[in-house]
């Protein structure tokens, strides 16, 4: 498998013999190389949950954010190379502010998604640059309706009911867990959604391999600005989620 792209994988501008862009595909692998991040589109909003892997006990908690507010009704959760993703967050904030300034209304989520998608795609076109090594989950509410998008390093943007990214080997397990709740999402409320997303992240955390983790949870709704929950709130959510997971076993 390692030798598959040999020779054709050194530049983003080279197509392989069967028409693949290996550099972009490798960027996709980098995008999965971080803690799990999960987002669910519930009845009137979006919930995000992220697994922050704390590699050392010397690290101060509540740093290393993975969920960012773009404006009151839009947020982004990131996976992969976090510095790359922070550049996208800055770009998203600029786009949103520019749109508001130019058109006088809040940017619709899918329009922001298109702009970020084009921005990420541009970095796959030039030999002098490399693709972004991160995937983003863009969620927000437009005209009262929640929308969630997954944007990959190639710039591919797809709308989702729910999605999980990160943790290479358990990404499929995470997506399977999201699939088990996907049918109940259209009628789920924010509170329930927060617990469900926390459960998905907590149940897949590998204590032996990844040691200490910190859970980061946030939500936004038609009537609620985006907010990342405080440490006390997160602890409550963690306890409730763990309680339910233990009961299920």
């Amino acid at each position: 498998m390692a030798a598959l792209g040999v020779g054709y994988d050194l530049a983003a501008t080279t197509f392989s013999t069967d028409g693949r862009l290996f550099q972009v595909e490798y960027a996709g692998k980098a995008a999965d190389n971080s803690g799990l991040v999960c987002a669910l589109r519930v009845e009137n909003g979006i919930v995000f949950a992220a697994e922050k892997l704390m590699h050392s006990d010397l690290l101060v908690p509540s740093w290393g954010k993975r969920i960012f507010t773009i404006n009151d009704n839009i947020a982004i959760a990131i996976s992969g190379l976090l510095p790359d993703a922070r550049q996208l967050v800055t770009r998203a904030r600029d786009e949103a502010a520019n749109y508001k300034s130019q058109y006088g209304r809040v940017i619709p989520v899918s329009v922001l998604g298109d702009r970020l998608s084009l921005f990420m795609q541009m970095y796959t076109m030039y030999a002098a640059a490399r693709p972004f090594g991160c995937s983003i989950l863009l969620g927000g509410v437009t005209d009262g309706k929640p929308e969630l998008f997954l944007i990959e390093p190639s710039g591919l943007k797809r709308g989702c009911y729910g999605m999980a990214v990160g943790k290479g080997k358990s990404k499929q397990e995470a997506r399977n867990k999201v699939e088990t709740v996907v049918d109940t999402l259209p009628t789920m409320d924010i509170q329930r959604g927060v617990i469900e997303s926390a459960k998905i992240v907590l149940s897949l955390h590998d204590e032996d391999e990844d040691r200490h983790m910190e859970l980061e949870v946030s939500a936004l709704a038609a009537d609620m600005d985006h907010a990342v929950f405080t440490a006390e709130q997160t602890e409550q959510i963690t306890n409730l989620a763990r309680g339910e997971l233990d009961a299920e076993e």
């Binding site: 020779g7 054709y8 983003a12 501008t13 080279t14 197509f15 392989s16 013999t17 069967d18 028409g19 693949r20 862009l21 899918s110 298109d114 998608s117 084009l118 990420m120 795609q121 541009m122 796959t124 076109m125 030039y126 030999a127 002098a128 998008f149 190639s154 710039g155 591919l156 943007k157 797809r158 709308g159 989702c160 009911y161 729910g162 999605m163 997506r175 999201v178 699939e179 996907v182």
Partner: protein, 240 residues
């Protein structure tokens, strides 16, 4: 084969036989990744059908589309890598808007296609940028010439078609179209809007299999004089 000796690694290098392998690889990308698409130019309409199969339960199918509006009367069906498709759609919109600003009338379909093809051609002559991994079908009703269907590919060619197929089942679909609409066709085809829609569905069934239902297809048409391209709903395609 010169493949192993490095003639296929960069855009600007010809192989000893005079081939540009990178361009050929881009076409492979379109065939491997692109959804099966069939386009038919009728008597007073253009019909484009895309076989859309979203197998992953987590994705919202309504957010995934191959169609992009370029200007009021011109649309694009882009087949191949999705992100690249979005990029050429945005570029085509920009070109179209600039033309309108400069000349005061809407950029005709064939000119949009030609302009995008010319831009694509520049990417085959420089190493700093790669070609887009998608082919585009520009369509609309031209006010002087009637229904227009133009295919633009990463090699920089722009050609008008009576009917054309792209993507996964390109070969099978093209064979069906030539049989039905070519010179050797046994009977003249019905190319009214309804007839063209039926033909598109029949082509899909012939190439992909009889289990294809109208619900698996995303269809956009433009018909009548001065008409705006529109998506076709399931009710209109009932019974096909």
């Amino acid at each position: 084969m010169s493949r192993s000796s490095g003639f296929d690694r960069q855009i600007t290098i010809f192989s000893p036989e005079g081939r540009l392998y990178q361009i050929e690889y881009v076409f492979k990308a379109i065939r491997n990744v692109g959804a099966s698409t069939v386009a038919i130019r009728g008597d007073d309409c253009v019909v484009i059908a895309v076989h859309k199969k979203v197998s992953d339960k987590l994705f919202d199918p309504s957010s995934i589309t191959c169609f992009h509006r370029i200007s009021e009367h011109v649309a694009l069906a882009a087949v191949g890598m999705s992100a690249d498709s979005l990029s050429i759609a945005a570029d085509a919109r920009s070109e179209s808007a600039e033309f309108m600003y400069n000349y005061g009338y809407e950029m005709p379909v064939d000119l949009v296609a030609q302009r995008m093809a010319d831009k694509a051609a520049t990417k085959t002559q420089q190493t700093w940028m790669r070609p887009h991994g998608c082919a585009g079908l520009f369509f609309g009703i031209d006010i002087e010439r009637g229904p227009a269907l133009y295919r633009t590919d990463p090699a920089g060619t722009s050609v008008g078609y009576k009917a054309c197929a792209l993507g996964n089942k390109e070969t099978e679909l093209t064979a069906f179209l030539e049989k039905s609409l070519g010179e050797d066709a046994t009977e003249p085809a019905d190319l009214s809007l309804n007839g063209a829609l039926k033909l598109a569905v029949a082509a899909m069934r012939d190439a992909i299999g009889n289990e294809v239902v109208v619900g698996d297809l995303e269809v956009m048409v433009v018909s009548g004089e001065n008409a705006v391209p529109r998506m076709v709903g399931m009710e209109e395609m009932e019974g096909m």
